[in-house]
């Protein structure tokens, strides 16, 4: 085999005379290097099309904190109290964020600076996510090799490099926790499976460090601290208890828990919160298993052991249930928080917590989203499960559990497709690799037997091989056909992923692009225009009231104090803003006076057709405001159960603050040829109240495409 392969190499390489093992190593290393580079460059679409900037909303907060960290050092960052958001409450930033991402970016920045590359921290922030996505492919290769073999590892690395489910949250510019957290998640899982396979304390320590990195990076670490105990439980139930499992889980749990409690935001949750109790329960269960195993080994008497077993089990079960019941009833063990409870009961958030229900990423997933984000991986996933069940081992049981649980959660919440992506890629890689391996073996066996038959074999052997020959030609043709089909599917996957990344996941959201009538690209940079106007034309202690979506961007780019921002930790404060936006101007003025508001910012898409504006978000302002202040009643704004802005709308809707601020002077503007002035291009109607007069506010700034509008709150009159 080695000699035939060598004939295809060019002359200079042939002189190297590499053995098959070395050829294979060269092939593997070069493939991995190419996959690494691919994972990085496929995420650079928006940097090439627009510029190197931070996208979306949440990344702006991360950027601001990273800037603070690099300017003021770690101690100031850890103890930072932010006066510029949630006026007048402020926010304890040091204790309410996950520092992993910021510290990682700061370390990369310091490292590059030490090598005398004069980079700006923003460039480092923009490119952190693609860098860690490339690292994830390496971990996926190692994990695939651990579970199945190195071929599956390579396929897994290639699949996850371009998987749209992962790309969506890790493009260049998406400087968010998930970019680093998925790397930490996969690393922790890989290290833990390796620890279970080898039973070594060193690997368990490494997985504890991986877990610590995950806890520092993302709130989704709860998935790890529940999946790993569930996995141990499944192993115990299927009779796969072993000393290696004991060593791996116990050391990882104790060290991981201690390390995790160093993060202030997590605090003592590992011993007090209901979400973490499964891990502790399994910890004690493992001690019981070990003890019973040891006693069984010491006594070589089966009958005595059985009676001992019975008494111990009853004792343990009673003590365990008692502890759990007392803990939960007395309230010491806090119940599952709303965010994670809504994963188990998807209807919970809609009835009880409108803020969680309003986030578009928290909605249940449609089939189209699955197809969009996974494509061929969707049907390779069940095939991979089949292969895993055929070769059950501790490692394959783990990946099956990870795959199934993450797919369930991905079905509940769109955002969690990201967590399922590595599992789906790994399991699909097993299917793809095993299938292609079997097919190529089928093709290869045919070419071997004629050579052997034509050699110096005896007559009977040749006859037997001849009989085998007759059934093979059909198999070989089918194998070639199937192999071509497999390559076609994989190439379609690559094309689909590139297209999806280019069209859907590379928009910065803060800069909008559209096609003009002559086909040329039109850029709307209104957001940054407005924030820089704020930065340059308002006094430094001005307070800006807007809906919470824009809070992070205003503090990061406008450098002004905001009333509410994306952290949404205080529902009453947000409801106050919602109430102000939905009230008549005089009531709203009183609320704004109580909050010391100087400027109000609204986003309006009626001129450009931009549909994520504040009028479309208005229903959430009413619902959240009405949830805390019963004076805001949703039926006051509805006509036949829907929100309208034209003449048929309710008087409260036509005169509330949000309506007035969005449509001020809009009645004089012609937006579309052939339509009357005041035609709202998003709602598709002519607005009802064209003659708007503002008594307590005055217009300060409207951006060039009317997307962001800023109003100044007038001081109270001198004479009442």
């Amino acid at each position: 085999m080695a000699t035939t392969a060598l004939e295809f190499l060019p002359a200079p390489l042939r002189s190297l005379r590499l053995k098959t093992k070395q050829q294979e190593l060269l092939l593997r290393v070069s493939t991995l290097a190419l996959i690494y580079v691919l994972a990085f460059i496929v995420r650079l679409f928006s940097v090439l099309r627009y510029e190197s900037m931070i996208h979306e909303f949440d990344p702006y907060f991360n950027y601001r904190t990273t800037l603070f960290l690099t300017e003021h050092g770690y101690s100031e960052f850890w103890n930072w109290f932010d006066f510029e958001s949630w006026y007048p409450l402020g926010r304890v930033v040091g204790g309410t964020l996950f520092p992993g991402l910021m510290v990682t970016a700061a370390i990369l920045y310091r490292f590059l600076r030490a090598l005398s590359f004069a980079v700006h921290i923003r460039e480092v922030c923009v490119l952190t996510a693609p860098f860690f996505a490339a690292n994830t492919t390496l971990v996926a290769y190692a994990f695939g090799r651990e579970i199945w073999d190195s071929g599956a590892g390579l396929v897994a690395a290639a699949l996850i490099a371009i998987c749209p489910g992962y790309i969506s949250r890790s493009v260049a510019g998406s400087y968010d926790n998930e970019g680093v957290a998925i790397f930490a998640l996969l690393l922790t899982f890989y290290l833990f499976v390796r620890a279970v396979n080898t039973g070594s304390l060193a690997w368990s320590l490494a997985s504890a460090f991986g877990y610590f990195y995950m806890v520092s990076a993302w709130g989704g670490y709860v998935f790890i601290i529940n999946l790993v105990p569930l996995y141990v439980l499944v192993l115990l139930v299927t009779g796969r208890y072993s000393q290696r499992l004991y060593v791996a889980y116990n050391s990882m749990y104790v060290l991981g828990m201690l390390l995790a409690m160093q993060i202030r935001f997590v605090g003592f949750q590992h011993v007090q919160s209901g979400e973490h109790m499964a891990a502790m329960g399994v910890f004690f269960l493992l001690q019981v298993f070990f003890f019973l195993d040891w006693v069984k080994y010491m006594l070589n008497d089966a009958k005595l052991y059985k009676s001992f077993l019975r008494t111990t089990l009853t004792c343990v079960i009673t003590v365990g249930t008692l502890a759990l019941v007392i803990g939960t009833a007395s309230g010491y063990i806090s119940p599952w928080t709303g965010r994670f409870y809504s994963l188990l009961d998807p209807t919970y958030a809609k009835d009880h917590i409108p803020i969680i229900a309003s986030v578009s990423e928290h909605q249940p997933t449609a089939w189209s989203s699955f197809m969009f984000d996974f494509q061929i991986l969707l049907f390779l996933f069940p095939a991979g499960l089949y292969f895993c069940f055929k070769r059950l081992s501790d490692a394959t049981i783990f990946i099956v559990m990870y795959g199934l649980t993450s797919m369930y959660f991905a079905g509940v919440m769109v955002r969690l497709i990201l967590v399922a992506a590595p599992a789906v890629c790994l399991i699909s890689a097993i299917a793809a690799s095993a299938t292609i391996k079997n097919l190529t073996t089928l093709i290869r066996t045919k070419t071997k037997s004629p050579q052997a038959a034509s050699g110096k074999t005896t007559g009977s052997k040749a006859a037997a091989k001849g009989a085998v020959d007759q059934s093979l030609p059909f198999q070989q043709k089918a194998a070639i056909f199937l192999l071509l089909g497999a390559f076609y599917m994989l190439s379609r996957y690559a094309i689909h992923c590139t297209w999806v990344t280019s069209e859907a996941y590379s928009s910065p959201s803060i800069v909008l692009a559209a096609r003009g009538h002559n086909g040329g690209r039109v850029i709307f940079d209104d957001y940054r225009e407005a924030y820089y106007w704020l930065r340059q034309n308002t006094p430094p202690d001005a307070k800006i009231m807007s809906w919470w979506d824009y809070g992070y961007q205003i503090t990061a780019m406008g450098n002004r104090t905001v009333i509410v921002d994306n952290n949404t930790w205080n529902n009453t404060h947000i409801a106050t803003v919602g109430r102000a936006m939905s009230s008549y101007e005089d009531e709203a003025y009183e609320i704004m006076q109580s909050l010391d508001v100087n400027y109000v910012l609204v986003v309006f898409g009626g001129v450009t057709g931009y549909s994520s504006d504040d009028i479309n978000k208005f229903l959430w302002m009413v619902r959240i405001g009405g949830g805390v202040f019963p004076v805001i009643k949703e039926p006051d704004y509805l006509v036949n159960g829907e929100y309208r802005v034209d003449k048929g709308a309710t008087p409260k809707m036509l005169n509330c603050l949000m309506y007035k601020l969005c449509y001020y002077r809009f009645g004089e503007l012609t937006t579309e040829y052939g339509k009357p002035p005041g035609y709202d291009r998003v709602r598709g109607v002519e607005i009802g109240n064209k003659d708007i007069k503002l008594e307590y506010l005055e217009e300060a700034f409207t951006t060039s495409n009317w997307i962001v509008r800023i109003y100044k709150v007038k001081p109270p009159k001198n004479r009442s």
Binding site: Q243, S251, V254, S307
Partner: protein
């Protein structure tokens, strides 16, 4: 009832006879584990007396005892010559892992102690 007590006595007798046969190095590790768990129990009793403030100090104290007990049990598993799964792990490597993990454990405890 009398059968249960005679069963229990028989159990304890056979256990102590079998335990006497374990090698000395394993007995030393067992003693260390008992010492660590006893220290943890003393700390919990003290916490019952004076209350949980500051909670981080209490947790770090108890978890350091439990942690080192768990690591000692892992060492015992890896060093035990009757364990077929670990027969090609040299005991020096097992002890080095034990020391490393304990080092990390105590560093984190010292940070957490407050």
């Amino acid at each position: 009832m009398p059968r249960a007590t005679s069963d229990a006595r028989l159990l304890i007798q056979s256990l102590s006879k079998a335990y006497a046969a374990t090698p000395t190095n394993l007995k030393i590790i067992d003693l260390y584990v008992v010492f660590a768990v006893a220290t943890a129990l003393i700390q919990v009793a003290y916490m019952g007396l004076v209350g949980t403030f500051p909670f981080n100090s209490f947790l770090s104290g108890v978890l350091s005892c439990i942690g080192t007990a768990v690591l000692a049990v892992c060492l015992r598993i890896q060093v035990n010559k009757d364990n077929k799964e670990f027969k090609d792990l040299p005991p020096e490597r097992a002890f080095a892992d034990f020391v490393l993990c304990n080092l990390v454990l105590h560093l984190v405890i010292m940070n957490f102690l407050g």
